[in-house]
């Protein structure tokens, strides 16, 4: 539970009836204790851990050594059983497994995760989208350092209930510190919480004094960063932007996947997209600020 509390310490809390319940319980035989749901299944992942979706019950089942989880989307309940003397399993319980279940519940409620860092200026957001290693996290920190508001460095939620314009909701999870981000922001090293050898260093965004959080913003630009010697922004068509975003669709419930894809399509149509070649992340704010002038959230 400490892991969960630490990860989500920057999220707003709310009162009232919860939308979902997540139980994390100690168990000596997690996989055996969490039986497979009835009906057919679809294997979504099977490298380090197994991830199966059961379309008949709308249930996600995740298993790894020392941990098993069942996410029942219709009842919005998650059960994670973990061998509490297994440090790696405990970490998975508060991190990857928790994330996968949370993402599934969010999708079922029309909040679609997009693998992107996001910062905003006066309520208008730039999403840095693309695969790991492209420098999204460092770019978002560089913009935040120069006064932009911060919504997340890895995943944000997009809501596109047409005919309304899409909006982006923050997902201020712990910021994972890469070697690159430590190089540009050495002060974060002293703030970070180190864990076991295999765990990246991370820092909750609300522990960073110069980081201002925003809870939501209107997307105004989609930016796909790449390393490049000369800072350059090149326009990208909405078709190309959509194609870059497609891998964000998670293949569980088909109707939810269609709505997820619809949301990505709405986002790609609503805002201009660019490739950003850059080497110095601190050049990003000056290069991107002009994109936010004028119309926001529309081509």
């Amino acid at each position: 539970m400490e892991g969960v509390a630490s990860r989500f310490s920057a999220f707003e809390t709310a009162e009232g009836t919860p939308d979902a319940i997540v139980e994390i319980l100690a168990d000596s035989e997690p996989a055996a204790s969490l039986a497979r749901p009835a009906g057919r299944s679809r294997r979504l992942f099977e490298e380090e851990h197994e991830l199966d979706y059961y379309p008949d019950s709308g249930t996600l089942r995740l298993v790894d050594i020392g941990i098993a989880a069942l996410c029942d989307t219709p009842s919005a309940s998650v059960r994670i059983l973990v061998k509490d003397d297994d440090a790696r399993a405990v970490h998975l319980a508060s991190h990857l497994f928790f994330s996968l279940c949370l993402a599934e519940l969010l999708r079922s409620r029309g909040r679609y995760p997009v693998h992107a860092a996001c910062v905003s200026l006066d309520g208008r957001a730039v999403l840095f989208a693309g695969p790991s290693g492209a420098g999204k996290s460092t770019l978002s920190l560089a913009c935040a350092r120069s006064g932009w508001s911060f919504l997340g460095d890895d995943v944000v939620l997009v809501i596109a209930d047409e005919p309304r314009e899409p909006i982006v909701r923050a997902f201020p999870d712990e910021i994972d510190l890469t070697q690159e981000s430590l190089r540009f922001f050495p002060d974060l090293g002293s703030l970070s919480l180190a864990g076991p050898a295999w765990e990246k260093r991370h820092v909750p965004p609300n522990h960073i004094a110069w980081l201002r959080l925003a809870s939501e913003a209107r997307p105004a630009a989609l930016v796909f960063p790449e390393r490049g010697p000369v800072a350059r922004l090149s326009p990208l068509s909405s078709d190309a932007a959509l194609i870059e975003l497609v891998p964000n669709v998670v293949r569980t419930d088909t109707r939810v996947a269609q709505r997820h894809l619809d949301t990505l399509g709405a986002l790609a149509r609503a805002v201009p997209a660019f490739r950003l070649e850059i080497d110095d992340p601190f050049a990003a704010p000056g290069l991107l600020a002009p994109l936010l002038e004028g119309r926001a959230g529309a081509r």
Binding site: L92, L100, E104, K200, R201, V246, V249, D262, G265
Partner: protein, 227 residues
């Protein structure tokens, strides 16, 4: 109805117009679509349906249909942070100590020293090793493994013997070299890919992470046959 099917597709708001000119009439006798479903389909119905589907059609717009595969989507957004490496196998295989592969403080050189003192050392396989030795004693630690300032210019031989110091990086590197040799030799708790990855992450994690890695590998490099 064909055109109703076309109309069922999703619209792109800015792509609803039909081409400005009517498509050319086919030469020869007037043709109508044959009635596969028992109902007549007029060109106008088709155009209306296509327009509703956001498909722009004009007389010269027949373009060969193509299907382009773009990629395979995996668990993108939700699994954007890589998981930690898998834990030890159910029956973890312990490995030889750094002293076996290097200098053994009490008995001089360890028993495994002659098995990797050259590249593709024949004594490796002759003593039961799988494949060939992954590196030799003169191989440089960096760039075989991710660079750490204290391990630059250091050979595997120096590293497995502790590098002459007690810095967390040197202690971890000592265990790492032994572990990598163990993983290459036969069944071991971790794979070589896992070990490389664990080292890389420990380097970025700093001294506490390096100490943790050293402790972890020390627990699995506790001794083998021949020690």
């Amino acid at each position: 109805m064909l055109w109703e099917t076309v109309r069922g597709a999703r619209n792109t708001p800015e792509e609803t117009q039909v081409g400005e000119h009517e498509p050319n009439e086919p030469t020869g006798a007037e043709e109508k679509a044959p009635t596969g479903t028992g109902s007549e389909l007029s060109r106008r119905d088709f155009m209306r349906g296509a327009a509703a589907a956001g498909v722009v059609i004009g007389a010269d717009d027949y373009v060969k249909p193509t299907l382009k595969m773009l990629g395979v989507s995996r668990l993108a957004a939700a699994a954007s942070t890589p998981p930690p490496p898998p834990p030890p196998q159910e029956s973890p295989k312990k490995g030889c100590t750094p002293g076996f592969w290097g200098n053994n403080s009490s008995d001089g050189q360890g028993g495994g020293v002659p098995w990797w003192d050259t590249s593709s050392d024949p004594e490796w396989a002759a003593n039961g090793g799988s494949g060939t030795n992954p590196f030799s004693q003169s191989t440089l630690f960096t760039p075989f493994f991710t660079s750490h300032p204290l391990l630059v210019g250091v050979t595997m031989w120096v590293a497995v013997n502790g590098g002459g110091g007690s810095h967390p990086a040197e202690k971890a590197a000592r265990q790492l070299v032994a572990a990598y040799l163990n993983a290459s030799f036969g069944a071991y708790t971790f794979t070589r890919a896992q070990l490389s990855s664990m080292w890389t992450q420990a380097v970025s994690g700093g001294n506490s992470a390096l100490n943790a890695l050293s402790t972890l590998l020390d627990a699995t490099n506790t001794g083998c046959d021949g020690q």
